[in-house]
Point group: C2
Chain length 318, copies 2
């Protein structure tokens, strides 16, 4: 496959950037991938595990000569990083990012983009509860969506090129308008994450004795919440602070519905509960049919345990 | 392995009962397993797929001569089923159940238990989002907890025998007091399920266009909620109606915390969010260390897709 970019620079070396590096190598996409991250210890780790062809000690050095620069830092850090690298971006380069919020990134990064540089924000809908440079793997983006959110007036060629790049990493690509992106993600990701964080925090508040039982008996449903609530704290703090309005709107609707269901429980309105639960079951069906999740019971956890690298403790799905 | 019971009767033939049958057969545990369920079509299905050695057309016929009778019906139906079978239970038999709520089952079933019959309620903490007689599999209880909740005064021998039975089906067994059981399960299972149902319902309310996008982009977190919210509506209606007080108490604490986090988002209090999310991440660590879940990213969904029975659609993790 011909490289769609000769030189790619990854700024920030967490789960997404490290997965991008492995996926770029798998696809044979670029002659050189440079990397930079703020913390010395993380740069040392990256060098030790061979992450990126060259790990640089400054962002300026990493982006010099790159024809694609991807900001892979928390949304709240995007503006400062953009300001730092702007003078060093090559003319004709494409500047992109992987942030989970798009309006805030456009507002923070846009003003720093020099003339002659193409700014094409992006959001790969992919991730796991793990983070850091050692958590990446080449398959992370396979068959996952990547949303491109070019600001009005962006030239079509850099958008098409970035699309080809993400497709080569394994993704399906769509373009979307920034505010619509932020609303859809508030529903599919941001509100669910806050709710999971909340439920896990409540369980933790119930004190040590109950708490150990909560962990012991977590397989009854709670553990699904803990996986979501184990996601990177800095990233998620920034998501909520920068997608405030849409998240609060969805949470407001959520609270309304929750109160209605609590009232149905209190008054013993079984029909209301039954009808509600029947409706939600249909939505799961839609997700399976759309190919967005496995239909294997419990996400196929059991076969994950039986896979080529079994859990030596052997407790697995316990 | 010697059978711990000669004749087992399963009343209700859904996910749990059908998994029990397969696990009993795997372990070579009983000479005969009889089954009964209220719906003719379900009895026909059970006969067609060879579920149970003998499917009976009445509950009375199924329990006649059984030394273990297990009620596998929704919690709200336990009392009526117990009244129906009581006159037909063999002296010395053990009567048990698999309900997710224990105080309500004890109150509903207890008064019907004839003298000479041992009543030992139980709750296997196992299940998937699938239901019905064709959803069962022998491995469902492997390394999962089964909680026995014998009322005060229950003889020790029938409890020990039921413990040996569940251990032979693959479970780890503990005994617990009924009200404590219902509180722990409200935290680990009942409140999380109601919250997941609520979030999925909210997404559905957002209208058709957004709705299809919600499904399309559900891999960002939402799909984990939809799995939980795809569980059996009748079973869950009964759980909430019969574990009302504990569920409402936990939901009250949940709402308090959610409002505090919403306020932190609104006022831009990033430290509060960061500290909260760091704390919840630790709990996930505890669950992995306790062997209660896989540490594989995304529950090992990807390897589930790559397993011996790959999804022919090939989209898998979306």
């Amino acid at each position: 496959m011909t490289p769609v970019y000769d030189r790619v620079a990854l700024i920030g070396l967490g789960l997404i950037a490290s997965s991008m590096f492995h996926a770029i190598r798998r696809a044979g996409l670029a002659d050189e991938v440079t990397g930079y991250t703020r913390t010395q210890a993380t740069r040392d780790t990256a060098r030790r595990i061979g992450l990126c062809d060259r790990v640089c000690d400054s962002a300026a050095e990493a982006v010099a000569g790159a024809d694609l620069v991807v900001l892979c830092v928390p949304v709240g850090a995007m503006g400062a990083v953009a300001a730092e690298i702007a003078p060093h971006l090559a003319p004709g380069a494409t500047l992109s990012d992987v942030g989970s919020v798009k309006r805030a990134v456009i507002d923070a990064v846009g003003p720093h983009v020099p003339g002659g540089v193409h700014f094409v924000p992006a959001h790969p809908l992919a991730g796991t509860e793990h983070s850091g440079p050692e958590s990446g793997f080449a398959e992370l983006f396979d068959n996952r969506w990547c949303l491109l959110v070019p600001p009005p007036g962006t030239a079509p060629e850099p958008v098409a090129r970035l699309r080809a790049f993400w497709e080569a990493l394994g993704s399906h690509v769509e373009t979307m308008e920034p505010d619509h992106h932020d609303l859809v993600l508030a529903v599919t990701s941001h509100a669910p994450h806050l709710i999971a964080y909340t439920m896990v925090g409540v369980a933790d508040d119930l004190g040590r004795v109950t708490d150990s039982e909560v962990i012991k008996y977590s397989a009854a449903g709670f553990r699904d919440f803990t996986r979501i609530a184990a996601s990177d704290p800095t990233m998620w703090r920034d998501v909520f602070l920068t997608n405030k309005d849409a998240t609060l709107e969805i949470l407001g609707r959520f609270t309304e519905e929750l109160f209605a269901l609590q009232r149905a429980i209190r008054t013993g309105d079984g029909d209301h509960l039954f009808d509600y639960f029947t409706r939600t079951r249909e939505i799961r069906r839609g997700i399976i049919e759309a190919g967005q999740d496995t239909d294997a019971p419990d996400f196929g956890r059991a076969s994950a345990q039986r896979g080529p690298e079994p859990d030596p403790a052997g407790r697995g799905d316990g």
